[in-house]
């Protein structure tokens, strides 16, 4: 019969000038993130946690993890289009690929970056106050999300969006602005 939609989206193929991002770009970025998080897990398991805050800050696993946290913040607050991995993808990877068949809305991957930021920030804080294995657990959880995003194109962070909205824990304007 007919389709009643509040937002019509009938475009099947990517048109030049159409809004949206190449869906392979966030998946490429998530792949880099997943590999780096795996390195953090390995370092966290290999090196015992430092006795003082000064020692814990200088641990290589922590430094890498803090860097990943900053990159999540970049994606979440500046938007995935401005993320460094997106620039690498556009400069080096995309010219070697066929044009995308679909373009994707940047809002879901931007929100997922925010979820990644919160998870890694909790790991950073717990590690700094000296909680053993906080780094490994936070990096492991973020790895699963990044791996699913990269390999299976599954946005784990996006799944909790509606639950957070229902609980009133999220201002939708903060996401819509991303």
């Amino acid at each position: 019969m007919s389709t009643e939609t509040q937002k019509s989206a009938h475009a099947l193929a990517a048109q030049p000038g159409q809004k949206g991002i190449d869906p392979r770009s966030p998946r490429f970025g998530a792949g880099i993130t997943a590999v780096l998080l795996l390195v953090v897990v390995a370092l966290g398991l290999s090196v015992p946690i430092g006795a003082t805050v000064g020692q814990r800050v200088l641990e290589p696993g922590f430094i890498l993890f803090a860097l990943i946290t900053l990159l999540f913040a970049w994606g979440a607050f500046a938007g995935v289009q401005r993320h460094p991995y997106g620039r690498i993808f556009r400069a080096l990877i995309r010219p070697r690929l066929a044009p995308p068949t679909d373009l994707e809305d940047p809002i879901p991957p931007t929100f997922a970056q925010g979820v990644g930021f919160v998870i890694t920030l909790v790991g950073v804080a717990l590690h700094l106050i000296g909680v053993p294995y906080a780094l490994v657990i936070a990096a492991g959880a973020a790895f699963v999300a990044a791996f699913l995003n990269s390999v299976f194109a599954y946005c784990l962070g996006c799944q909790i969006y509606l639950v957070l909205l229902r609980l009133g824990l999220l201002r939708r304007s903060s996401v819509a602005a991303g």
Binding site: E4, T5, Q6, A9, D105, G140, F152, L165
Partner: protein, 143 residues
């Protein structure tokens, strides 16, 4: 931890993530039949004038949802192809109360309503056209 144990832990973590991914891929889009007899009326849905004569594909979407676009395309296509079937897309980003009312935990979720508005099936994730058509045929035949 010694290097062998660390390597083993990394392999286990990748294996776990792979299993989770395979399970998620297998369950996404699966049609689950509903038997609790919940009835949804058109007036409960903002901007909807009436339900389909045969069946209604009621999609719940949000702004943070990549597979919602695919779902829109699949449901829209089926509604075009099957006489008496209407597709309704409800964006609950600004109406989380509706998501709570209809017990929607994530998007996209599709409810298949029969001509009386009884919820007959529920699909989480982007539906597969063949499975959806089969379920619709069953519901339309029973009506």
């Amino acid at each position: 931890m010694n290097p062998e144990a660390v390597a083993l832990a990394l392999v286990a973590l990748v294996a776990l993530a792979t299993v989770v991914g395979i399970v998620l891929r297998a369950t996404a889009g699966r049609v689950r039949r509903a038997t609790d007899g919940t009835v949804i009326r058109a007036r409960e849905l903002p901007g909807v004038r009436g339900l389909g004569r045969g069946a209604t594909l009621l999609q719940f979407s949000t702004e943070v949802c990549a597979p919602c676009t695919t779902t829109r395309r699949v449901l829209g296509g089926v509604a075009e192809a099957v006489s008496g079937v209407t597709h309704v897309d409800l964006d609950v980003t600004h109406r989380p109360d509706l998501a709570s009312k209809f017990h929607i935990m994530s998007t996209p979720t599709t409810l298949i309503l029969d001509r009386r508005g009884v919820v007959r099936a529920r699909i989480g994730g982007a539906p597969r056209t063949a499975d959806l058509r089969a379920e619709l045929d069953r519901i339309l035949a029973a009506a």
